[in-house]
Amino acid sequence: MRLFIVLLAFLFVSDTSQSFAQQNVLHFVTWKPEAAQVWDQAIADFERDNPGVKVVREIAPQSSTQIHDLLVQKFKNRDARLDVFFMDAVWPAEFASAGWALPLDRYFATVEQEKFLPATVSANRYRGRIFGVPVFIDTGLLYYRKDLLEKYAIGPPQTWNQMFQAAKTILSREQDRQLVGFSGQFKQYEGLVCNMMEYILSNGGALWDEKRMISALDQPAALQAVRFVRDHIIGEISGRGMLAYEEPESLALFTQGRAIFHRNWPYAWAIANDPASSKVAGRVGMSPLPGFAVGTGAAALGGWQLGISRYSRNPDLAWRFVAFMTGPDVQKRIALATGRAPTRTTLYDDNEIAAKIPQLKSLLASFKRAVPRPTTPVYVPLSNIMQRYFSSVLALPDTDIKEQAALATRDMNRLLDFVRERQMP
């Protein structure tokens, strides 16, 4: 019995000593950054400016889906060893409604908010309050092999069909079995929803009707877009391997010179043009995504924010860290090192950035036009229904798209009805 008490006492003592030591420790959950040294340096600078403070990083998986699930587990356990975390553009509503993300209104003043691209800030708002600070904006972009397009005197495509035709022409002339026409992200995961949303929106459709809160996947515009992807992208110019690809695999294909067109986020620019990581460095072009008609291109608004956990024991210090990491200085450093697009508008006029990433300024228009995925606390279950639907019709070419869309619509509407009938009091 005495042993047991000693053990208990030991547990108790070790626990308090740990929490004592944690007074000035910030736990930061992030994914593996592309330019690790920039982040290391920024964190080191923060620690130097705040003596006695230590930032402990936990590196989560690259996949948005997996970092989401990791964070949810931590919140569910009210884990105090989570202060600051990265948040994908679609999570703020969910994390806010669950009470996991700390409202930042008292820290993040309106004057300060106005210094950011408006769409990136509004993605962080839920029921009038603000829950995150955008670090960089992500939108889908079209990368292409400048050299191959020039070789066949083809300009950057403005419509999906132009891209499809260009890919077919080049593929048939090049006769290179290693080469595919297009690489994107079509694995059953969150990225699939982003990719498919871009086709659907650019055809005048939507994932769901946000006014009436019903699914729009069964509408003709959406059905048509999905059919195009199945028959022409997966069926002809991409190949079925794409159905297992997330960002890293699809980017690798492009940087190895094995894809003519590539859909990715802005971060791919720096990697694709770095001779150490890319065989096509210097031969890469970038443009806004095509649409089904000229000028209808729609890019999914992605992007990552920093949020603070409700269970953080150190919200003030956590905010100092968030403010530092989203400040103009760190954003600029990240942009220069990785090509990630900053969220602060002034940085688009910065000379150094303009010299390093000349096309960034021209992308400002498509950043301003980027469409956020609809915000709702049940985004994840809706997304899972959509992922299941998209993956099924793309991977099984014999399925009836209309029928599958009707099933997905029914499931989505059931969930949306459930939430509408039980609004927060």
């Binding site: 949810v72 587990q73 569910k76 969910e94 159905l243 606390p377 049940v378 899972n384 991977a395």
Partner: protein, 295 residues
């Protein structure tokens, strides 16, 4: 007598506390939660008792039915393969040859590697462009390369291959222990009677390792019904939901979607499934235990 009794209890206490805390409590709490509607992202709905609602929903949920089917197919294919291959390996390792100790250690390697690592390795092997599998099958003829993890009909096969590779050593280990417990004089007596090697295997080895076989079957069944990590790393349930095994579906519901009640109901189903099968096997194990079997 009395103090030794107390000592025994005291010594048992830590393991009891451990089991109660990490096994009993979660199981009981999953049962309880499976009767509630609790959605983490809609906290204002509270924790509402809904009776059998989650189970009724589960019965009419086509995704759940599909994932139950996937799980059962997975178990029905992997378990016999693992036992057969495991038996073959165990029989070889039971013979005396040079380097047997080394071989025994090497055979165990797949089992010793953390699943996350081996799953990741298999994912690379199955890659449609750089994967070793395609290189072995088709050399540099890229036009014929296949993408197992992207094909609804092949993704589950790929996971089955990884699972069999990973857990066959475990079956082999248990069966080897069973083989070693068979006394040599039985084989000698069989030789005197003029039995062929096949007859020896059929009438001496097989009956005597039956308890070990059943034990391996029991462990493998429980494990394969709750397969999770390979799916998590290799496919995330796709493509077309064809590798969405029950345990992964339950995980998605609980931890990604925050539907605690519904996810718990799925967990309870997986638990009951393996419980029923375990009881069945344990019964068999009891009635089939031959005299002298060591396991």
């Amino acid at each position: 007598m009395k103090s030794s009794h107390r000592l025994a209890l005291l010594l048992l206490l830590p393991s009891f506390v451990f089991v109660a805390l990490f096994s009993l409590y979660p199981i009981v709490d999953s049962f309880r939660l499976s009767f509630y509607r609790l959605i983490l992202t809609l906290p204002w709905l509270g924790e509402k008792m809904v009776g059998w609602e989650n189970y009724r929903d589960l019965l009419s949920d086509p995704v759940a039915r599909q994932s139950l089917k996937t799980t059962l197919v997975f178990a029905a294919i992997t378990i016999p393969l693992e036992l057969l291959l495991g038996l073959a390996i165990a029989l070889v390792l039971n013979e005396s040859f040079r380097g047997r100790g080394l071989m025994r250690a090497i055979v165990l390697v797949p089992w010793a590697i953390p699943t996350v690592v081996s799953a990741q390795t298999w994912r690379f092997l199955f890659n449609d462009r750089y994967g070793l599998l395609n290189f072995i099958l088709f050399g540099s003829d890229a036009a014929r390369y296949i993408a197992p993890l992207a094909e609804p009909q092949l993704a589950l096969v790929a996971i089955i291959v990884a699972e069999v590779w990973k857990t066959t050593p475990f079956a082999a280990l248990i069966l080897l222990a069973g083989l070693q417990a068979i006394p040599d004089d039985l084989y000698e007596a069989a030789s005197v009677d003029g039995a062929s090697p096949w007859q020896k295997f059929r009438h001496v080895t097989l009956p005597l390792i039956q308890p070990a076989l059943l034990l391996a079957l029991l462990f493998r069944t429980i494990d394969s019904l709750r397969v999770f990590d390979l799916v998590f790393i290799m496919t995330q349930g796709g493509p077309a939901d064809r590798t969405n095994v029950l345990q992964f579906y339950g995980y998605k519901k609980t931890f990604a979607e925050g539907m605690i009640g519904y996810g718990s109901a799925i967990a309870v189903v997986v638990f009951l499934l393996s419980l029923v099968l375990s009881i069945f096997y344990l019964r068999l194990l009891k009635t089939n235990r031959p005299q002298g079997g060591a396991v």
